[in-house]
């Protein structure tokens, strides 16, 4: 296989028959090109889906309240349901083993200022667990902790863009920010993959907000992630049970859809993950089909090459070539053409994806690219494909009888 003379023979044969080589290589280049593009697009689509959910943990459940839409047990419709700290505690106690992270949320709009810079932002008052629910990345300092919640300290964690807006080039960490007239100490800066809006938020302890903005124990929303060991169906059962218990607790009719709303991302994740894997299978089938077509193509051409070289092979045999050396020369030529043509197709495909990738975002294809892993396995596939494509023709060539090949009427 690493016999230099054999390679010399092969290169000579390829070099002297360029059209033939180009033709056979073209099929493979084209097949791999398609393969790479298809895979890139599939990756791009799946990136788009991932992106859509990257903001929140995929196992999130959001619980929010509204007004009752139906009269129930003597209570009128139109009653407002308000969550309180005790409801947060209730869920934590009742479903402790099924809950991974849990946080309350209170929404407030504030006018923030630092020295001469002013702007308005949304504040989310939360528990420490919120960081994991929201996939918040703390880049400087720390997040809200339990001590803050217990002591109702006036601290905030601000988004990267809030820092940009108000503190310009200076560092915000450790400084005091004025939120609607009250000074808060900045203990952390965060970034978030969820987009610019997510980075223009300010987080503060839930208890601090409750004390300052109403002196009550109201909560706007409760967010939690379920135990990741639960599968989709178990997760959906869990959220159904949770919904029913809460409806009971607030004396809400079972059929009332508006009083207590529980949104389980598992429902959506399940659909998306089924869709992505379905898409993956389709792409794989199409890709493999293309590859097979390429292999068949090169195999055909190799058969033609063998036919064309019958006389040469006959001469070689008359001069003492063993069947093995004939197989080697045809097989290696096939593998060489396949691999080189394949690499060309791969490079072309990757280049093309790189080139047109950015303009495809509006078609829900984000960062279409083939992974290094895929490139590696494609290489192995190419070598195997080349061997398969070359084997039958090579075998055929090795069985050529010199006497038949050398007959002058051929």
């Amino acid at each position: 296989m690493f016999d230099r003379d054999l390679w010399r023979e092969i290169f000579q044969s390829i070099n002297m028959n360029r059209t033939r080589t180009l033709l056979s290589g073209f099929t493979v280049t084209f097949a791999i090109l398609l393969f790479a593009i298809l895979f890139g697009i599939a990756n791009g689509l799946s990136n788009t889906f991932d992106q859509a959910f990257v903001d929140d943990a995929a196992n999130s459940i959001f619980i929010s309240s509204g007004q009752t839409s139906k009269a129930h047990k003597g209570l009128q419709a139109g009653r407002r349901i308000q969550f309180k700290n005790e409801d947060y505690d209730y869920i934590k106690e009742e479903f402790g083993d099924k809950v991974q992270y849990i946080t309350a949320r209170i929404y407030k709009g504030v006018n923030a200022s630092f020295r001469n810079e002013k702007s308005s932002y949304n504040v989310r008052a939360v528990h420490p667990d919120h960081q994991f629910l929201e996939n918040t990345l703390v880049t400087q300092g720390r997040y809200i902790n339990q001590l803050d919640v217990d002591n109702k300290t006036k601290v905030v964690v601000i988004g990267r863009l809030v820092e940009d807006d108000l503190f310009k080039k200076t560092t915000a960490l450790g400084k005091y920010i004025n939120l609607s007239g009250i000074q808060y100490k900045i203990v952390g800066i965060f970034s978030d993959d969820g987009g610019d809006n997510e980075e223009r938020l300010i987080y503060m302890p839930v208890t601090t907000a409750q004390q300052i903005y109403g002196n009550n124990d109201y909560i706007d929303q409760i967010n939690l992630t379920y135990n990741p060991n639960l599968n989709y169906d178990q997760a959906i059962t869990f959220s159904n049970v949770l919904t029913n218990k809460l409806k009971e607790r607030f004396t809400v009719a079972d059929s009332d859809q508006r009083a207590i709303r529980v949104r389980n991302l598992a429902n959506e994740s399940k659909g998306i993950s089924a869709m992505t894997s379905g898409l993956g299978i389709i792409i794989l089938v199409i890709g493999l089909g293309t590859l097979i077509a390429g292999v068949v193509g090169i195999s055909n051409i190799m058969i033609f090459i063998v036919k064309e070289r019958t006389k040469e092979i006959g001469i070689r045999k008359a001069l003492g070539a063993s069947p093995k050396s004939i197989v080697a020369i045809i097989l290696m030529e096939s593998i060489l053409i396949t691999v080189i043509a394949g690499i060309l197709g791969l490079v072309l495909g990757m280049g093309l994806l790189e080139l047109v990738g950015p303009s495809l975002e509006k078609y829900f294809i984000k960062d279409p690219a083939v992974s290094l892993n895929l490139v590696f396995s494609a290489m192995i596939i190419l070598i195997v494909a080349g061997s398969i494509a070359g084997y039958l023709p090579a075998k055929k060539a090795s069985r050529i009888k010199p006497i038949v090949a050398l007959r002058d009427d051929k």
């Binding site: 000579q12 002297m16 028959n17 070689r316 045999k317 001069l319 003492g320 050398l406 002058d408």
Partner: protein, 233 residues
Amino acid sequence: MLKIKKLHKSYPIGDSSLHVLKGIDLSVESGEMVAIMGSSGSGKSTLLNIIGMLDEADEGEYILDNVPIKNLTEKKAAIYRNKFLGFIFQSFNLINYKNALDNVSLPLYYQGLKRKERVEKGLYHLEKVGLKDWADHLPNELSGGQKQRVAIARALAADPKLLLADEPTGALDTKTSYEIMEFLQQLNDEGKTILIVTHEEDIADMCKRIVRLVDGVIMEDKFVNQVRASQYV
């Protein structure tokens, strides 16, 4: 050197079969130059192919240099062909994308010689046929006579015991034919055993022995006074 006893060969043609060789007995000593003559269909090429191990006899005995040639595997046949035999064909059968030197050194490649050695030996043999200056030329840049001389150099390259020539002058004009024959005679003078299949009387007369085949049997086998080709050149 070469012994053949009661050799039979037939080819299937449709349902029936064509009996081409009907019991050939032939023995050739080292240093002989034998012409095998016959009209087309007489079986002379078949005989040469069997001697050349390109084909196998149905029946009979064939011993080459004390080695019985029988039931050879393809691999064995390849080794024997490479070691014992040099082929010269009517249509030269050079590989058209290889230059003269590469063509000549191909048998040496199959002997497993190193490239340097192959080039050395190849050039030596090309020089012997007077074509050293043409080493880099492709076959289609050579005349018919030159092609045949390259083919002869190739046949000689592996230093075979027996040269087999199938109508070596069939595609050449008379003058070139005689040049080739002169060269073959020189090789024979140096001790090479040569078998030539031909249907041309003047070519046969330039050998030392003429074997005539008619319908698959040897009709005549006689030693002749060799006509030197040099007198015509």
